[in-house]
Symmetry: C2
Subunit: 428 residues, 2 copies
């Protein structure tokens, strides 16, 4: 197989330019490894005149990514535009319809439309590869789909949004409040155009939905991910967690039980000395647990030009080498529809609430928890000069259903201002 | 492709039995993922009567692994016997000659005969897969060969012998001397029949040679690995390292420079708060650095029935799925012969020596180091009641050539008993 593999690249932002750079710089290495030249035939982006710091003059230019996707002179459509509707979806479908393989970094597209796209790809005898969609440069899709294929996967966990981890670790080290660090991150260009994608946990939730589909042989079901962002994490939460030997991470957890598939992406307390607890800044980490392998931990850069382009190239090299596999590791038609389940495993919870400074208020809180069967491990009330007292509580282990009862009970006391912050403590 | 994939398994020790168990327990899962049944046709081991805790009665039994390798009713020869000569080598060659694919956990065989076997496999149109040979359950071969194929690899490092890491961390936590902990490990069955394979760094050196071949496109060259074991590490080395914020790990490092390929497997000091420094017990860790991805860290169990069988099954599933790749990631004929190079990068070194308690002895040591251009960062002489004083020195950065000069100079002083312990300090 010495015919060149011809790429059409749609989207010339950071990642697209990174892919072009690697293909130009490492042409010889890529050919040595894959046994054939890997070449770019055509590219597509909105603005053809913009200087992107890399020469594009030898590639055909398409303004319309759909036109690029259909070109006769490409074998692989590399979709690096992003977005789960519009041009990215249309062009991906057009590429598959035209008999092209697809390599994409688009987590939203696959988390939402993955099942339909996988079915279309398989009907057309084409592959969709998406290593770059999850945890940047970490080869986690490949490790899970192929390397650990002999395992019944029992749990997948991960810190997969570098921006959130940057904000949380920066808050901890600087002592600055969320709003200030959020603004810093925005000024540094770390946030998506719609920052809710990051800090609301949506981006990480997309990634978790993709990992869960592969891990458990289920249809990707982003709508079933229980999502919670980091927007309500206050500096006192981080300090209190640290006092107890924990750190707060936006952690995704996917696991199955008799009741169904549990997928949650929410800030949690994790032991500070665990691999997940030690994670700093924009680094990502994925933990995979299987019946045979026990536990594998994968760590690496979750974003950025080089790491994301590395993942895109991994997929391109696989296609060049003739390594072809079903989108989610097994035929799309065999993926199961799993009912969405809440976690049945009891865990301790961390609660922070704003208590009105009235006689008997704390007794009402304690009673509300007790009525829900939730017992208190530790409680701390901070000094205050206002009429509202911040109260921190760590519960003994309880189920999420018991916790929901307790939260409803707290709301009914009339002495708690707003909804408490409630974070699960993952003992890992 | 719905024909079953038929396996012949040679070697029914811990790993072999683990593979049989998974194939029996997860038959349905493996078929769902690979699209075809994965079945065992025949097995081979020395003693057919031994109770291995798993039913083998439905498989044909071959006393001779070569006969197993040649059977018409197997597609894949699974070699789990070990040893780089004799039956394992003969049977692997016979399997390839008979047109079988090979899956093996045999690091010694491939580190020493990998080039010839890869050439034989490619001539026969067959594959040799060996995920289980390196770092147990961690899918590091796959990550490096496929996932990171778009990278020019700049460095590969790893703690890849769980027994050595167990001994070193156990010494640290218990305060017990090497000899005592070595005996404990032996009593627990952690050591190879020839313990030098573990504590002499040979087993880990085999693994490093395999990673280096893939990373740098070179012929596997175990003979060029600079090997040093952990046998001379004393409890005071561990304590002194800890005082300075380091831990001692048997660390493999492979990197290339203009002068050639550097492969060293030796005890080193690494920062206690680095991922490598935090590794406890039998866990393995591999760090891969590439021009695009920056740094990926992979961590997991380095041995044991489940994890090693998981890796074997990963390879088997790849073959069942039709994912076929050259042994070391590119055609064997294109692998380069790289000259062996010593590290040219300066590093600080830790030295421990037994100094004769004579007037002017320490001055002679200092002069010997100074003459070699090696300057002293810190020195500590322990209290002693004998005529020999233990002296610990940390040097400023120097090259390994300068260190060798210094060691020769120390030997010539006539005041140092025996050869000093000299450990590189890796700042990572």
């Amino acid at each position: 197989m010495t015919e060149p593999l011809r790429l059409g690249i749609a989207g010339l932002g950071t990642v697209g330019v990174g892919v072009v750079r690697i293909i130009r710089r490492q042409a010889e290495l890529l050919e040595a490894r894959t046994g054939r030249p890997v070449v770019i035939t055509a590219v597509s982006a909105r603005d053809a005149t913009k200087d992107r710091g890399v020469s594009l003059s030898s590639y055909a230019w398409e303004t319309d990514p759909v036109a690029l996707a259909k070109r006769d002179d490409i074998d692989v459509f590399v979709e690096l535009m992003g977005g789960h509707e519009g041009a990215a979806k249309e062009a991906t479908e057009a590429a598959l319809a035209a008999g092209k393989d697809v390599v994409t970094a688009n987590k939203a597209l696959l988390a939402i439309h993955g099942q339909a796209l996988a079915e279309q790809a398989e009907a057309a005898g084409r592959v969709i590869r998406f290593e770059a969609a999850v945890a940047g440069g970490i080869p986690v899709i490949k490790s899970l789909t192929e390397g650990l294929a002999g395992n019944e996967i029992t749990r997948v966990m991960g810190v997969m949004n570098g921006t959130c981890n940057y904000i949380l670790t920066r808050m901890e080290h600087s002592g600055l409040p969320y709003e200030t660090v959020f603004k810093e991150a925005d000024d540094l260009g770390y946030l998506e155009a719609d920052p809710t994608l990051d800090v609301g946990g949506i981006d990480a939730g997309h990634k978790l939905a993709l990992l869960a589909a592969i891990a458990f042989g289920t249809k990707p079901a982003f709508d079933d991910v229980q999502l919670e962002g980091i927007q309500r994490i206050a500096i006192e939460d981080i300090r209190h967690a640290a006092d107890m030997g924990f750190r707060i991470k936006l952690l995704g957890v996917a696991q199955t039980s008799a009741r169904g598939l549990e997928q949650r992406m929410a800030p949690c307390l994790v032991p500070a000395n665990s691999p997940l607890g030690q994670l700093e800044g924009g680094t990502n980490m994925v933990v995979i647990e299987g019946d045979a392998v026990d536990q594998i931990v994968l760590r690496g850069p979750g974003a950025g030009e080089g790491p994301t382009a590395s993942a895109v190239l991994g997929d391109i090299c696989d296609i060049a080498r003739g390594l072809r596999i079903a989108t989610f590791g097994q035929p799309a038609a065999t993926l199961q529809e799993a009912p969405s389940a809440m976690s049945g495993l009891p865990a301790p919870y961390y609660l922070r609430m704003a208590l009105q400074d009235k006689p008997g208020a704390l007794a009402k809180v304690a009673a509300a928890l007790g009525d829900a069967g939730v017992s208190i491990d530790r409680m701390r009330q901070y000094g205050h000069s206002e009429t509202i007292a911040p109260v921190l509580i760590v519960t003994h282990k309880c189920t999420s259903a018991m916790l929901d009862d307790a939260l409803a009970g707290l709301a009914a006391t009339g002495v708690v201002d707003g909804a408490p912050v409630a974070l699960r403590i993952e003992e890992l």
